[in-house]
């Protein structure tokens, strides 16, 4: 088992009456997990919060190992992580494929309308200059385009190579910025160090920094709808609670939740509580 350094260990609790809710080491994901947790608690479930468990490579083995009972995930990304050759497609197709790909013992509940997916993003000025709307329109750009994003972007199926092969778009180089489309990437974009960046669509920076996420009519990126991944310990009654949350969580909601975190610097707990109160679900 030691061949894979990320192999699962044995830290989570096995108590049958508590559900372990986990989250990525990412503020937006934590907010969603907190919403799940508070919703569950409001319905009489005891919750053990294990938030901020690093990136997918860290927590995925723990989920598949059954150490975590509820985890907010994103359909497309999770699918690709589980199956490198996944086909993807529309949101529903992706969701359906994900359901099939999940290892036994794990299941996903209803997906939400809220999505937080990869996008090719440029500054508004840049978009105006070349009249950019969708990804294909990047072909019109006459200046060299330097791409920025996490280093793995360079080799991803939607990365610079795909731009060239699918749309014939030439890029001038790749600058790795290892913050997953975070503030450094945004800053590099705004400062003109890079012209094209991979930024999550739910990022409040798109609005606050006047960025434009180019539309993706051809489904270059997998849709990334928010979806709870759950273990067998989640019974129907509990699943209903989470499904109710997912049904209420819209794309705009997610952006504004993120904005509350980034711009108002509110804690995940407060944001989740406010949202649940507003949505008046329970």
């Amino acid at each position: 088992a030691s061949g894979d350094p990320l192999g699962a260990g044995s830290t989570a609790s096995g108590d049958s009456k508590t559900l372990v809710v986990g989250s990525q080491d990412y503020y937006s994901n934590e907010i969603i997990a907190e919403i799940y947790a508070q919703a569950l608690e409001a319905n009489g479930v005891t919750v053990d919060r294990q938030f901020r468990i690093g990136q997918r490579e860290v927590y995925l083995p723990e989920i598949t190992g059954g150490k975590i009972d509820v985890f907010p995930e994103y359909t497309g990304s999770l699918l690709q992580a589980l199956d490198k050759k996944a086909a993807g497609g529309t949101a529903d197709e992706t969701y359906a494929e994900l359901k099939k790909t999940l290892p036994s013992g794990l299941s996903v509940l209803d997906q939400a309308a809220a999505t937080d997916q990869n996008s090719w993003t440029v500054t508004q000025a840049f978009a105006k200059k070349y009249n950019l709307t969708d990804i294909a329109s990047l072909k019109k750009v006459t200046e060299p385009i330097t791409v920025g994003g996490n280093s793995e972007l360079e080799t991803r199926p939607y990365g610079p190579t795909a731009l060239k092969e699918k749309y014939g778009i030439e890029t001038a180089g790749f600058k790795p910025v290892e913050d997953g489309g975070g503030p450094l990437t945004v800053k590099a974009l705004v400062q003109g160090d890079i012209q094209l960046a991979n930024i999550y669509t739910a990022s409040p920076n798109i609005k606050s920094d006047n960025l434009v996420a180019l539309t993706d009519p051809d489904g270059l990126f997998f849709p990334d709808n928010v979806v709870p991944v759950v273990s067998k310990k989640v019974d129907d009654k509990t699943a209903a609670v989470l499904n109710k949350v997912s049904a209420a969580l819209s794309a705009e909601n997610l952006v504004s939740l993120n904005s509350e975190s980034v711009n108002d610097q509110k804690s995940a707990k407060a944001i989740a509580a406010d949202w649940l109160k507003q949505a008046a679900l329970f």
Binding site: G3, L6, D25, R52, V58, N205, V262, Q265, S267
Partner: protein
């Protein structure tokens, strides 16, 4: 400052996490380095080998260390134990040389007289060599404490909660106050542990204070004036 007031309990929790992560490695590295340093000091051959290897451990970048270690010792990536082991390795790397130097710094005359009045090797080590190398060991331990506290923040990147979480989170959310708080709290915590070690040193090495005053006086004995 507003952010700090609004998040005091978060800061407190992370500080506690951080303490739990960083105190065991400090103690462990001392305990482990002791026999290794003793060996290094005692035999010429082992000295070369032990000091070179421990020096190299320090050259391992922390990132891959955290990732590879679980594969080697069979812990989970996220387990605090993993981080504790990694930090201990760095601490030992620093401390072994210090122990060797500290033991070497013990006045040969004193050791000889200890043997002459009938200390056995074992009692000589515990009652003479170890306490007398105390000041050097303490100095080394202070460096280990400070750098361990600082290094522990890297654990945040692999999901071990610590004060480092404040700057991964602050970074993602673009809250500079949070990052700065994380850095300042780390530094304060390091200085606090450092101060605690100094205090422990004062209690455990009372004679060093006595000697200091004498040395200061001895230094005064030479009339000095820096005339240009």
């Amino acid at each position: 400052m507003n952010w700090v007031w609004a998040n005091l309990d978060l800061i407190r929790d992370r500080t506690l996490d951080h303490l739990i992560l960083s105190v065991p490695p400090i103690i462990l590295s001392f305990v482990i380095a002791l026999p290794l340093g003793w060996l290094a000091n005692r035999y010429r051959l082992s000295r070369g080998v032990i000091l070179t290897v421990s020096g190299l451990l320090y050259a391992i970048p922390s990132f891959p260390m955290f990732i590879v270690l679980p594969a080697l010792v069979g812990t989970t990536l996220r387990s605090p134990l993993n981080l504790v082991i990694a930090l201990t390795i760095y601490g030992v790397a620093l401390m072994v040389r210090v122990v060797a130097d500290g033991l070497a710094s013990v006045d040969a005359d004193v050791q000889r007289s200890a043997v002459a009045v009938g200390f056995s090797t074992w009692t000589n080590f515990w009652q003479v060599e170890l306490p007398l190398s105390g000041p050097v060991l303490l100095a080394g331990l202070r460096v280990v404490a400070v750098s361990t506290v600082s290094l522990a923040t890297v654990g945040a990147v692999i999901g071990a909660q610590s004060l480092g979480s404040l700057f991964t989170d602050g970074f993602q959310r673009g809250i500079q106050a949070e990052i700065i708080t994380g850095i300042v709290a780390t530094v304060l915590l390091a200085l606090l542990l450092d101060g605690a070690l100094v205090a422990v040193g004062r209690l455990a090495l009372p004679w060093t204070r006595a000697r200091k005053s004498v040395r200061a006086a001895a230094r005064l004995r030479l009339p000095v004036e820096v005339t240009p």
